[in-house]
């Protein structure tokens, strides 16, 4: 097996050599039309060791982790944890992320969770908008939600913030 495939297998806990390319994963994927390659192709690319193509791809950032592919795979291979593994490798290696909005969202979300222990939407979305420098998309929807009192202005933190910080430090 290619060393890259071994690495992904170990990180994801999935056995890639069971894949026989039946394409059932691809057939059920809701986001495949925004991938560079279909799901079953991703598995084959890992087996072939195509590290640079995968870790720099949009594909790994467009998967939303719905677990349809893994649930339907006749060989019990879950692509969700494989995509998680590819994303964390890409982050670890400091790869450029071709879906900056997705990265900005996850960073803003986790920063909010880390700071308050719970996610505070108003400040999280403001941080996200600052990162993406896109203030106009969804301005209307945002204002409607705000008008409906769905976005509280002030954050409320939890007591156990020290424990939350420990969890984040345990991560890479």
């Amino acid at each position: 097996m290619h060393p890259f495939a071994t690495e992904v297998q170990e990180l994801s806990g999935q056995n890639l050599s069971r894949c026989y390319q039946c394409k059932k994963c691809t057939a059920g994927c809701p986001t495949v039309s925004w991938y560079e390659w279909p799901n079953h192709g991703v598995v084959r690319m890992i087996q072939r060791g195509m590290r640079d193509a995968l870790l720099g791809s949009k594909t790994i950032w467009m998967c939303v982790g719905c677990d349809t592919c893994g649930t339907r795979c006749p060989n019990g291979i879950y692509l969700g944890p494989i995509m998680d593994a590819l994303r964390s490798l890409a982050r670890r290696e400091g790869r450029r992320v071709p879906e900056p909005a997705v990265l900005a969202f996850h960073e803003a979300f986790l920063a909010s969770a880390r700071r308050f222990g719970r996610v505070h939407e108003a400040t999280m979305l403001a941080a996200y908008k600052l990162k993406t420098r896109d203030f106009l998309t969804d301005l209307g929807v945002g204002l409607k939600l705000f008008a409906k009192g769905k976005i509280p202005v002030l954050p409320k933190g939890i007591q156990g913030k020290a424990e939350i910080e420990k969890i984040f430090r345990l991560g890479s």
Partner: protein, 276 residues
Amino acid sequence: MELSYYPGCTAHSTAWEFNESTEGVFRALGWRLRELPDWNCCGGASAHTMDRVVGLGLPARNLAIAQRMGRDVLVPCAGCYNNVQKARAALEAGDPDARKIEDTLGFRWGKGVGVLSLLDWLERPGVIEALKAGVKRPLQGLRVVAYYGCQLVRPPRVTGRRSWENPTTLEKACEAVGARALDWSYKVDCCGADLGITHPDRAETLCSGLVARAREAGAQAVVVSCGLCQANLDMRQKGQGLPVLYVTELLGAALGVPGREKWWKKHLVDPSPLFR
């Protein structure tokens, strides 16, 4: 009848009416919900996406609190439920990352308390009968489709679902209070999750498709059990507007839970005409 309750971050913001209606329905049926003290964010879709240890660690802290409280814990939000269940499965499998988290937080998971979604609760003996008996304002054949999305059902080894392509629990609950639950083929398709924020146009493609299929089936409303599904389907649909209700709102309306007029005001597509 008492459960611990994990509301999740959206309970005090975008899913305010989910929290209110959940508490209202449980109160109406004589169940007591005790909010977990000092609960934290489950990590949403972001934690596991960015870092496996953080993705398991955040929900694990809530499990530690639930274990201390000694009661099964209700997690109505599908996204939170899935994260908590994945952490529970990792703890029970003796996963090395899960061990590190236990050591860091100073607890050992002992399988003593269960994690319940609203589906798990609705399937408890006597709940459907209690709903039937509690109806004050029968819904008179209101036509709905139940939408489960992803996180309530998949993956089945984590959720413990016996039926994950065609679950019927929400339908049974809707029928118990007098609605008519229609059959359709899209109940476990994905709404796009966080694409609702990062790629609204793509979420709109997915959600408009789902809403169109619901309308084709003849539905007057879509019934959900997830804050993100509700927000996406309500915000990202095109056309004349199909109301998207939390299952607890539908049940609460039939049970005559007070304050429900305030729930309808939180929706972008106004569901109040359905209940006049």
